[in-house]
């Protein structure tokens, strides 16, 4: 067993974070908890980009893409929380299953 940390170890951490994020998005009812799952997924993707940059499979482009992903995550979190607050005031719930006004 090779104990020296390499690309694979970072990718495995990233894969675990990705799976946990998917699990959170699928099983949580609270909209803010779903947002936390999405943040985990975005972070795992970023970790992949930065790891590939470090080990020479991508040039510095990977870090620039990670930077753009962080910017988009910030914009997305701001919009999503505004929507959640709006839903909370209008419908008095943050449960994503109960927000089904458009259904009928």
């Amino acid at each position: 067993m090779n104990l020296h940390v390499g690309l694979t170890d970072f990718l495995v951490v990233s894969a675990i974070l990705f799976s946990l994020g998917i699990y959170g998005v699928v099983t949580r009812k609270n909209a803010i908890m779903v947002l936390m799952g999405i943040e985990l997924i975005l972070n795992s993707a970023n970790l992949n980009f930065v790891a590939f940059t470090r080990f020479g499979l991508m040039n510095l482009t990977g870090q620039v893409i990670a930077l753009f992903v962080i910017i988009l995550a910030a914009a997305e979190a701001a919009i999503l929380l505004a929507i959640v607050l709006n839903i909370h005031q209008q419908l008095d719930t943050v449960n994503v299953d109960e927000v089904d006004k458009l259904k009928n």
């Binding site: 940390v5 990705f18 972070n43």
Partner: protein
Amino acid sequence: MNWYDIAFYAFAIVTVVSAVGVVFSRNILYAAFALLFTFFGIAALYVLLTADFIAITQILLYVGGILVLIIFGVMLTSRAFNVEVKRGLLKRIPAVLVVGAMAGTLIGVLTTTQWPSSNFSPYEDTARPIGALLMTQFVLPFELASVLLLVALIGAVIIARREKERGAQL
């Protein structure tokens, strides 16, 4: 096993354990605070990957911005604090199966793939070349990102304010 490996395993364990806390915690506020440790752990992993600029950006934007926003969201919707935040056990079992299979597949593929040898000398200073890239090759996405942030800011303010006025009219 040198210090680099020890640091990697320590930060990887912090990151994964706190991410488990985010996903499995019953209390939404505890989940938010566990997310804090996840973000810090990932920033530390960025440092280990010699991505100093991304690490600082991660701490400034994620910990200083997004996490504060999330905690504000938790506080402002606090009446829903005690609502059961998880689905029932029967609905969670398929999720566990599918996510477990997906994680196993991903980790299996990642560990069996022969990656190209990694004798690549790391970048010593990333802030300067990233700035140069943003001003040359990535100038269009950079400008689009600034426009997108402006749109998101104005949109968030309008969405969050509108219901108060409507609520006052009602």
